[in-house]
Amino acid sequence: MRKAKYLGQLVFGKLAGDHRRDEGVFVVLQIPMAVLFFGAIAICASAAPPPTGDKGDPDAIYRSQVVPFLKKHCLECHGADAQEGDVRFDQFGDAKAVAADEKTWQRTIQMLRSGAMPPEDVAQPSEQTRRSIVNWIERTIYNFDCDQAVEPGHVTIRRLNRAEYNNTIRDLLGIALRPADDFPSDDVGGGFDNIGDVLSLPPLLMEKYLAAAEQIAEHSIVADPSQYVRSQFKFRDQLHGDGSARYDYSQNNRKWTIYSTGSVGADFDFRRAGRYTLRIIAVGQPAGDESPRMEMRLDDQKVKVFDVNATQQRGRYEVKWDVPAGRHRVSGHFLNDFEDPTAEDRKRRDRNLIVDSIEIDGPHDPQPEDYPETHRRLILVRPEGGLSALAAAQTNLKPFIDRAFRRPATANEVSSYATLVDRAVEQGDSFEQGMQIAVTAILVSPHFLFRVEGGDVNRGDKAPTENSVRPVGDFELASRLSYFLWSSTPDDELLGLAAKNKLHEDAVLREQVRRMLADSKTQALVDNFFTQWLNLRLLDGVAPDPLVFPNFDAELKAAMRKETELFASAIVREDRSVLDFLGGRFSYLNERLAKHYGIEGVQGPEFQRVVFNDKRRVGVLTQASILTLTSNPGRTSPVKRGKWMLENILGSPPPDPPPDVPDLDAVQKAKPNATLRKQLEIHRENPVCASCHKVMDQLGFGLENFDATGRWRDKDGTFAIDASGELPGGAKFNGPLSLAKVLDKRRSEFVRCLTEKMLTFALGRELAVQDRCTVDKIVEQVEEKDFRFSAIVDAIITCDPFRKTSSEVSQP
C-alpha cells in the first residue's frame, strides 16, 4: 500500500513500501553508473520502464529533454568538476537510475518548484520547461499514472479531536457544555489537528473522556426527578437596565450599577403557573446610615423590599412566589439613593446598587414536562406498568446509540447497554441513574470516540482479508461529510438518507452539500480549517514587544483574529471566489482595528464590512493577523512572511535549511570581527542559503510597508521603505497591491495549494503521491466554475479518495 507523504505542490515524499526494493537496486546500479555518461543506453534493458501514460518513453524524454536541461542549468555546480551540496547529476544513466535515487531527485523537485534553483547567475529556464522537467521527474520517481484507476487511500481510524468532540456533544444532546476545552491539545500533522495517524490516545485523555462522559450524563439526565427543580439564570449582559443603571464593559469588571433611581431586570419564561423562587444576586455600596434598598418586582408588581447588606461578596435576595404562566420580567429597583461628597471615608460617599444576576428556580412541584429536554429525549419510557427496566432501557437507548455511533446500533449493542442499566437498578440505583451509566458507557465507547470505517456492521462486513478498494458505506459517508463541513456528527437528515441508502447518489450528495453549506454550522470550517490553513491559531502565541509596539494589546489581537475569521466566513457564506483571499478589496473592521489601519469612519466594537479604495490593503495577505503572526516580536521578518506565502499561498514550501550552517562558523573563525550584516551577506553568498532566501526574502519585501503588527508605515526608522522585489522568472512588484497582482497571475498554484490543504483536512490524512491525480482534477473543476468556494467543496466530496477507501489487511 502506498502511504507516502505529499509535501505540498508537486513535491512528494517517500513511497514507504514501494521503494524498499529500490535500495537494493541502487547498490547494484552505483558501480556501472560511475562510468556512464549522458545518453548512454539503459543498462537494465530487461527492467520494465516506469509507466508514463501517454507521455512517451521516459528514457527517450530523459535523453531529449532532461539531459540537455541538466547540462545547461545544473552541471556547472553539480557535475564532474564541482558537487555543491554533494549533489551530482552527471552520473544518472537513464530513467531507472533516476528512480533509484529518490532522495536526490525529490530535493531537486523542491528546488526547481520553489525557484530556489538554478541560482540567479546562471541561465534561467522558462516556466514551461521548469514544469515539464518537474513532471518528468515526478512520474519517474513516483511511478504513478493518473490515467489508470488511482487508489483512494486509507484513512487511519481517527478519534474525535477537541473541536469535533465539543460540537458532537452539542449536536447529539443539545447541551452547551464544552468538556473538551480541558482535554490536552491535539497534535498537529500535515498542518491540521484532525489527522488519524497523528491523533493518539494516552491515559490522560482516556481519563478525561471518562470524566467528561460522566459529566455529560449527569447533566443530561435528572437522577431524581421528584427533586428536580429547573433553574434559569440571566447575568450581566443578559440583563436590561433602566434609569441611571449603567453597564461597565471593562474586561475584568463587568457589572450593572444603579447610581440613582433606576432598575435592572430580565425577562423569563415561566412555562406554567406554579410556585417559583425569584432571586436577585446583588452587592450594595453603602453610604450614610443605610444600605441600598432594593425592591424586587414581577412585571410592575412589587414583590418584596430587601436591604442589600452584602458589600464584599455578592448576596442572594430571594423569595418564593406564585407566578402565572407566561413571560414576565423580574427586576430590582434602587429605592434610596444617597450622596455625601464630604464623608470622611471616600468609599462611603455614594450609595449605589450593583446587580450581578437574576435567577428563577421552579416550579417547585416538578412535572415530567419540566425536565430538561435531554432528559425527556433520553427517558422516553420508565419501567412502569409491567415494563421491565431492561425493556424500558432498550427502548430509550436504541435511538440514542444510533445517533452516538452515527449508524444503526446492533441488537447486541443495545442489549449490552440495557443490561448495564438493569444491573445498576438491581444494585439499588434509580432507573435514571442506571440510564446515566449507560450514557456514560456509550460516550466512552470506541464506536463513539473513533470514527470507525470498518465496513457496514449491518451488512455483516467482515475484516478485509486482502487489500481492496470499496466505496465507503452511506453512514460512513454521512460522517465524512459532516465532520468535514461541520466538524460534528451527522444530523437526522444525513442519517435518514444513509438509512435509505440514497446518500451516495450524486444528485443527493450535491443537494446535501448545498444544504450543509447554508447551515450556520459551517462556522466550524472557519474555526478549524481556515484558522489552521492560514496559521491564524498561532496568533495566540505571538507577543509583540510592548516597548516597540505600545498600542498592541489583547483586544487588538482579538480584533485581528476576528477580521480574518469574518473574511473567511464571508467567502464561505457568500460562496465567493477563493481568489478573494489574494485580491479581495474588502474586509471587516471595528473601530479599534480601523484606527490601527488608519481608516476613518468605523465606530464601535462591532465589526462592519469595509471596502478598500486605498493602495494598502488587499486580500488576506495584508490583514494585520497574518502580518503579525509572521513577524518577530520587535521587527518584521520578510523571511517569515515569504515562507508563509510559499507554504500557504503558492504551495511550494522552501526546502529545509541545512541542519547546521557550517559556512557561517567558518566565516566567524576567519573574520571574527565581521559585523552581523557582513556575516549575513556572506551567508547569502553561499549559494545553498542564497537560493532559497532569495525567493522568501523577495516575497516578504513586498509587505515591508506593514510593521510587525500590520500597521502601515512609509519609513522604518529613518529609512524609506523599499517594498520592491523580483521573483525568479522575472515577475517584478513594488508594494502590496502589485505583489497581489503577481500572486494572482499564479492563481492556479494558489488554487492547487488551497485544494491540497482542504483535501488533507477533509480526508484526515496527509496526501500521498497518487493524490496528485485527484488534486489535478479538482483544480480543473474549480477553474471551470469561476473559483467559487463551493466548487472546491463539491469537487472534494465527489472525488474518489473522499468516497472510497482502500482497506488494509488485518493481523490476527
Binding site: 491515559p203 448495564l420 445498576a424 541542519p659 552581523l676 488494509e808
Partner: protein, 443 residues
C-alpha cells in the same frame, strides 16, 4: 461534574505572591503499603533552545567547583546538587535526516532514541525513562506518572522542518508511538492529583460504575479490533492500554488504602497569563504530588521545544528561539543568559521548597532525583552533546551531591537514566542508546 474540592478560585491580583501552603496537618500520607524508608521520587524538568554554555559551565571539578553565572541561584543549594557536564543525546543529531534539531532534541531527550522524521504517518521514537520507571513503580501510587507543562501544543502549521508537532510537545513517551499528553492548567493538575468524587457519589459507587463501564467498552474494542487493518489496530491498542491503566487505578483505589488528604491550594481556573506565576504553580504542584506520594514520577516542560516566548519579567522582549540563533551577537547572548538565569532561579526555588518539606526522617529533596536540562547545548548551532544537565537531590542518600562531574568520554545521557532507574527500584539493563551506568554519581 464539579469536583468538590477544597479549592478557592484565586482572586485577581494575588498573582505570584501565592505561597505553597505546607501545613503541618498535612504530613505525608502514603497510598503505598507501609514502608520503612521514604520512597525515592524522580522528576525531569526540560527547558528549550539550549543554554549559553560559557555562562553555565562551572569552573573547577569535583567538590571544589564554582557555579557559572547563570547557575548562581543554586549556590545556596550547592550541597544538594550534582552538575553534569559532557553528557550527550547523540540521537538528537540529524543522522542524515536534515533540519529539525528542536523536534529531535525534545523527542530524544528522555528516550535516547532517534525519532522517525515524519509529519504524520509512522510517528515513532522510543519509551522515555520516566515511563520505564512508571511501568515498574507506578502501581504504588495514585497516578503512575504526571506529565505537565506550560505551553499548549502548537495547533496549526508545522512545528519543526517536517517533524510532527507530537515530537516538540512531549518529552514523555509511554511507548515508541504514544506521546504522553501533558496538562498545562494548574487547576486540572490539582484535580487529577486530589480529586476523587463527582456529583456527590461516593468513591466506591463511582469506582463500581466506572469498572462496569470500562468492562463493556473493552469488550467492544476487542471486537472492533478484529475488524480492522493493521494501522487501525494500533490506535485501538492505545485505547485498550489507556482503559487498562484506568482500570488498574480503580482497583488500587479499592484496595483499602488511606485516601490522600486534599491539601488546600489556590489555583486560578484557567491557564495563568503570567508565565512566572504559572511556572511556580506547576513546581508547587510537583512538591505537593511528591509530598503526598500521589505519584513518584513527573516530567515538566518549562516550555515546549523551540518555544519563542519572551521573558518580560527579566526584560527579555524578543522570542527565546529567535534569540537562540544569536550568531554570537553579544546583545542576544546577554538576553539569553537572562533567560537561563531566570529559569534556573525558578528551579532553585522549587528545590528550596522540596528541601523545606519533611519526608521520612529527612527532607523531600534528599529523597528526590530531579534532572534539569535541555536536549540542546549550543542552541545557535544545534549541538546535542555536552548538554547542560543538573541532577538535584540525593536519591535517598545514594547520590554524592555537591560536585561538578565532567564526563570526558561524552557518555550518553541515558547512562545517567539507567543509574536513576536503579534507585527507583526499577532497574533495566538498557534504555535507548545507553552503554552502561553512570557510576560516577554514586555515593
Amino acid at each position: 461534574m464539579s469536583v468538590q474540592l477544597n479549592r478557592r478560585t484565586m482572586l485577581k491580583g494575588v498573582g505570584c505572591a501565592l505561597g505553597l501552603p505546607l501545613l503541618d496537618a498535612m504530613a505525608p500520607q502514603r497510598l503505598a503499603a507501609a514502608e520503612d524508608a521514604a520512597p525515592v521520587r524522580m522528576a525531569f524538568v526540560s527547558f528549550p533552545n539550549g543554554a549559553i554554555m560559557d555562562a553555565w559551565r562551572p569552573a573547577g571539578e569535583g567538590e571544589s567547583f564554582e557555579f557559572g553565572p547563570t547557575m548562581q541561584p543554586l549556590a545556596e543549594l550547592r550541597s544538594h546538587v550534582t552538575v553534569l557536564t559532557g553528557l550527550a543525546q547523540e540521537n538528537g543529531f540529524a543522522k542524515g535526516d536534515g533540519a529539525g534539531d528542536h523536534a529531535r532534541s525534545s523527542a530524544s531527550l528522555l528516550t535516547g532514541a532517534h525519532p522517525v522524521k515524519t509529519s504524520g504517518a509512522n510517528i515513532r521514537v522510543g519509551q522515555s525513562v520516566d515511563q520505564t520507571a512508571a511501568e515498574r513503580v507506578g502501581h504504588l501510587t495514585k497516578l503512575p506518572s504526571l506529565e505537565i507543562g506550560i505551553e499548549p501544543g502548537k495547533d496549526a502549521g508545522s512545528c519543526d522542518s517536517g517533524y510532527s508537532c507530537a515530537y516538540s510537545n512531549s518529552i514523555s513517551w509511554r511507548d515508541a508511538t504514544t506521546p504522553m499528553a501533558k496538562e498545562i492548567k494548574p487547576r486540572l493538575v490539582f484535580d487529577r492529583l486530589f480529586g476523587t468524587s463527582a456529583g456527590g457519589a461516593g468513591p466506591s459507587r463511582r469506582n463500581r460504575v466506572r469498572q462496569s463501564v470500562l468492562d463493556l467498552v473493552s469488550e467492544q474494542a476487542a471486537d472492533l479490533k478484529n475488524h480492522l487493518g493493521r494501522g487501525d489496530q494500533k490506535k485501538i491498542d492505545q485505547y485498550f492500554s489507556s482503559v487498562r491503566e484506568i482500570e488498574q487505578r480503580i482497583s488500587r483505589a479499592g484496595q483499602n488504602r488511606q485516601e490522600i488528604a486534599v491539601p488546600e491550594f489556590e489555583t486560578p481556573e484557567g491557564k495563568p497569563d503570567d508565565v512566572q506565576e504559572h511556572i511556580r504553580l506547576m513546581y508547587d504542584l510537583m512538591v505537593l504530588a511528591f509530598q503526598t506520594d500521589a505519584t513518584r514520577v513527573i516530567t515538566f516542560m518549562a516550555a515546549n521545544e523551540g518555544s519563542n516566548r519572551p521573558y518580560r519579567m527579566v526584560g527579555v522582549n524578543s522570542g527565546h528561539h529567535e534569540l537562540s540563533h544569536h550568531r554570537n551577537d553579544e546583545e542576544k547572548v546577554e538576553q539569553l543568559k537572562k533567560i537561563d538565569l531566570f529559569l534556573v532561579g525558578e528551579f532553585a526555588r522549587f528545590l528550596g521548597r522540596l528541601r523545606e518539606t519533611p519526608d521520612g526522617s529527612g527532607n523531600l529533596l534528599d529523597n528526590c532525583m530531579v534532572m534539569y536540562g535541555s536536549g540542546l547545548s549550543d542552541g545557535n548551532r544545534h549541538k546535542h552533546d555536552d548538554l547542560p544537565i543538573i541532577l538535584a537531590g540525593r536519591g535517598g542518600g545514594t547520590i554524592k551531591s555537591g560536585r561538578h562531574i565532567v564526563v570526558r568520554e561524552g557518555a550518553p545521557l541515558n547512562n545517567l537514566f539507567l543509574s536513576m532507574l536503579d534507585r527507583m527500584g526499577s532497574g533495566v539493563s538498557s534504555l535507548g542508546d545507553s552503554t552502561g551506568r553512570l557510576k560516577v554519581i554514586d555515593a
